[in-house]
Amino acid sequence: MSVLAQQLVLGLLIGGLYGLAAAGLGLVFGVMKVLNVAHGELIMLGGYGAFWLVTLLGIDPFASLGLVVPLGLALGVILYVALFGFVVRADEETRVKNSLLIGFGLALALHATAVRLWTADERSVPTPWGGAVLSVGNLSLPVVRLASLGVALGLIAILHLLLTRWRWGKAVRAAAEDWQAALLTGIDVRRAYVLAFALGTGLAGAAGTLVTISYSVSPSIGLEWSLKALIVIVLAGLGSTFGIFVGGLVLGVAEALSAFTFGGPYREVAGLVLFVVILVARPRGLFGR
């Protein structure tokens, strides 16, 4: 019993990061109707960004977020202007095809660059309280992962506030719902798109940092994280930031249950089964509109 409880807790802890990864992907998908398949590679890049800041400059791993996120926002603006901005102008069918081409191309390029710069080895970053464990009853909670979950929740809350309170956040939601009406209302839709994409990339950077702190990063983690994020947005649906976060937690717990019941190799199966079940039973997702 306590083994199961322990597994579930660990599932929740990684689920928060799934949620954070999915929030960025879901924001871009919901607003621009573009599935950025390179989202996982952006997470990977964020992880290495943190790795460099910590090992080269000696910054505290959690404090490195303060640099990785702004760098991610800036990278998002560059990527939008250089690549994704062209896709958005096309009609829907061309948009889907071209965005997949651009996304996979970007993913390959980032993967190759990461192997060049950081080799294919797994890296992690040491935290001052690296091995500390919080014991609650007979559960042990790794402090670093607990802190990561807290930070992820905090970032989700900030995103929610930006989208619901800030003028431009509301403009992003308006453009997501009907971009032509947004234009007729006087909203610069292109700027709203740039903002959404930059926020998505900034969130990917944050997720990558937390992944590297709590677990590890290697050049090949991108695809796995893109898939997790995609499963979560199908599971949760678009339209609610906190809904996506909860979707991440659900996936983390489902994976833990699956691993406990059927054994470690079946961890991933849970996510894929959930994916299919939700698509059949409730295509707009648990919290989708």
Partner: protein
């Protein structure tokens, strides 16, 4: 004219400039705003948020508090419903939000495409009365509408288009008496 479709030839003159190459969102900032057919509101946002988004240009934002009061004075029901999601409103109330959102941009020309579409008759007259009120407040109103009697009673100038060509023009009152217009649009029983 709203900038969603670019003219293939010719120019759109406004205030001494050509709008043919101006971005759609900048056209709103210059004082022309369109209430599109079918309203096209942001239905998952509240009434208040829709209105706020209407005042997006710096000039409109500076005037937003007064504009909002004017909209609520015109459509008092919107003040009661301001925290509700637009999807929960009736068609007529949604049309009020659409007109209100356009007014929030502090326009000098308000263009409306079929504002009576799919709306209860009682609310149509409320909206047309509001248009007259807006016009008295100094905003030019350009209305494209198939509800001929209501539009002609309202209009200072009216044009009748058939098959893409203007076939009649004149004051609204004069066109209401025009035999061709009466036969084609007002029916044999019209008095």
């Amino acid at each position: 004219m709203a900038g969603l479709v670019r003219p293939r030839a010719g120019a759109i003159r406004w205030d001494g400039g050509d709008l043919a190459r101006v971005h759609a969102h900048d056209i709103v900032a210059r004082g022309l705003v369109l209430v599109p057919e079918g309203r096209r509101l942001f239905t998952s946002l509240t009434v208040e948020e829709n209105l706020e988004l209407g005042a997006f240009s710096p000039r409109a934002r500076a005037a937003a508090p007064e504009s909002r009061e004017r909209v609520y004075a015109l459509f008092p029901v919107l003040r009661e419903r301001r925290r509700q999601i637009v999807r929960a409103l009736s068609g007529g109330q949604q049309q009020m939000v659409a007109v209100g959102r356009a007014l929030m941009s502090a326009p000098r020309l308000l263009m409306l495409d079929e504002p009576s579409l799919g709306i209860a008759p009682r609310l149509v007259s409320a909206i047309f009365e509001a248009l007259a009120e807006i016009n008295r407040g100094g905003v030019a109103v350009l209305l494209v509408e198939q509800n001929v009697p209501a539009s002609l009673s309202l209009a200072h100038r009216a044009y009748v288009m058939e098959g893409g060509r203007i076939v009649r023009e004149g004051t609204g009152a004069a066109l209401l008496q025009d035999p061709h217009v009466r036969r084609a649009y007002l029916g044999p029983l019209a008095r």
